[in-house]
Amino acid sequence: MANWKTLTGVVVALSFSTAGVSAAPDTSIIHWWTAGGEAAALRILVDAFEKNGGKWKDSPVAGGEAARMVARTRILGGDPPTAMQWQFGNNLFALAEEKLLNDLDDVAKPDGWDKVLPPQIQAQIKYEGKYVIAPLGLHGRNWLWSNTEVFAKVGVAAPKTWAEIDAVAEKIRAAGYIPLALGGQSWQELIVFETVVLEVGGAEMFKKVTALDLDTLGSPKMVDVFRQLEKIKGYLDPGSPGRDWNITAGLLTSGKAALFVHGDWAKGEFAGAGKSPGKDIGCTIFPAGRNVYVYNGDGFAATAVTDADRRKAQTILARTVMDPALQHAFSIRKGSIPSRLDVSVDGFDPCAQAAYAASGAGQLVETGDLVSEPTGWGAIQDTVTAFMHGKQSPEAGVEALVRAVKAAK
């Protein structure tokens, strides 16, 4: 998915960035919400920002990686945007460490961010005790989606853990359905890998994996994880390798496949197919009983500009992003959940309500994108996808995993 967007995004952006060197202070705001549903959600933010007295100069770049690269290039080239969409965690801290950001404590302190944000998020967005990003929405990764109609026809209850899936997969297959819809691209397979790690070793093992702990990566428990991946290969259809996620989601909504493991952004595809999440498409924070919600979050960071105009724009933006009413409206449109804990759940679908409850119950855990060293986390992704498409034994898979992560350290 990202590859194309990245390439075109970079090309487009580089041509813009050279053309955009001008004398007047640039109030542009870089973001990567360019696709249909995302753009509609962004519109809500833009309207609120302008109502609060800001002036939004749009600088969209398709693809998160590309957008971040463009922002970085512009900052280093002396032409920083006023603000930019950014991820929590490592990527954010890297910017703060290089002193490229203004902190937002002049908004966060009086508005009491400490009281309304989950502690897990605070840990990912504060640098040296100061807020360096205004957090907007959280997307969850570990979801199991099931087609209610298919399970009614097969005559079994929808499973909620990998063990339960193992028990019913044969029955689903015998009834003429694909047990598990999976798009065989490395980033989608990584999501499946994460849920298996959660099932085998819970939050504790998951955190050690994202910390790239070599003992955990080479442990017998990891062999169990790869054994489960081996089983999962048997639940797929021949068209899986290389398939895009939205087409894969279509297998679920059209009733060809029974189950789908994917992040909550898939809800947009369900809605597009006229299926409502929580009813036609059942949802489980997966695996059930582990009480972990693996999330990826982003918001808007303010660059280290000093002139009063742009400082003011940054303050207005931070306050807008953290406005409970805005977060409520934005989340419904985007399919994410608010970062604040005091937002009304009116109008949230049952899945979003479950996710929001998990966030309130302190079950948030960061995905590797936020907390891992990128080369090491990428090495895990490469090894898992090689295993899913190769003929390695689980033991050999674990060996390759340790070797790849070691080389990346």
Partner: protein
Amino acid sequence: MRLRIRRFISQLVLSPSLALVAVFLYGFIGWTVAVSTTASKASPRFDRFVGLEQYVRLFDTPRWNVAFSNMFLFGFLFLVVTIGFGLLIAVLIDQRIRFEGVFRSIVMYPMAMSFVVTGVVWQWLLSPTLGIQSLVAGWGFTGFHIDWLTNPSTVIWALVVAAFWQGCGLAMALFLAGLRGIDEDIWKAAAVDGIPAWRVYLHIVVPMLAPVFLTVIVLQSLAIVRAFDLVVALTNGGPGVSSDLPSVFMFDMAFRRANLGLSAASAVVMLGTVLAILVPYLYVESRERR
């Protein structure tokens, strides 16, 4: 005196481009080599010298080893197929056939296409649900299937076919030019001796085309080492990492995995591969000229 002025002017005119080449080509090559000896992550850091460690890591990374050996496998298959068919088509077109221009254009046209378009076209053609397979199945042959793109052990053939479709025209054109350059008298002499045409080609003409072979091999080899857009558009390195190539690896490490040091090391290894092809070629060329 006038000669001296002339020489001065030509040197003056050349010097800006020489300076540009020095900075933007050799300067950046040097910069890349320097980065490859550091532990640079997202941005270059020259204060973290690690010597050759990145190269050790590189060849410890399973994905790189797949990509690197893929380059040789893909390169070998691609060269054999392109040279074989390119020569064959050139010979056929050389038979003074009617509508020669039409056939030449047909073979040459794919070259006008970018690799991205080629990749997408072949992705659709080879897709089990859209392309050739569903067409043939629609005719009633339901047992027919092509799983090149989804099978890790055959995906390299998908790359070869697409690259061949694109690169065959160039080989054909070079061979055809070589064939047209062969003295008519040789054919007449062979005809007088009653030698069949295929033997003339095999034993006389093809050996005379040796320099053309060398040019084709060098040009296509460079295309292989640089191949990036074709893989990205056709397979995106998949399934798994089975069709990964060094250039894709390099891009990923630099721009998505924030590891400039490792990326630079892979770039230097690629440069080394190119030089291993180019240097002997230039050596042979320069010796011939003397």
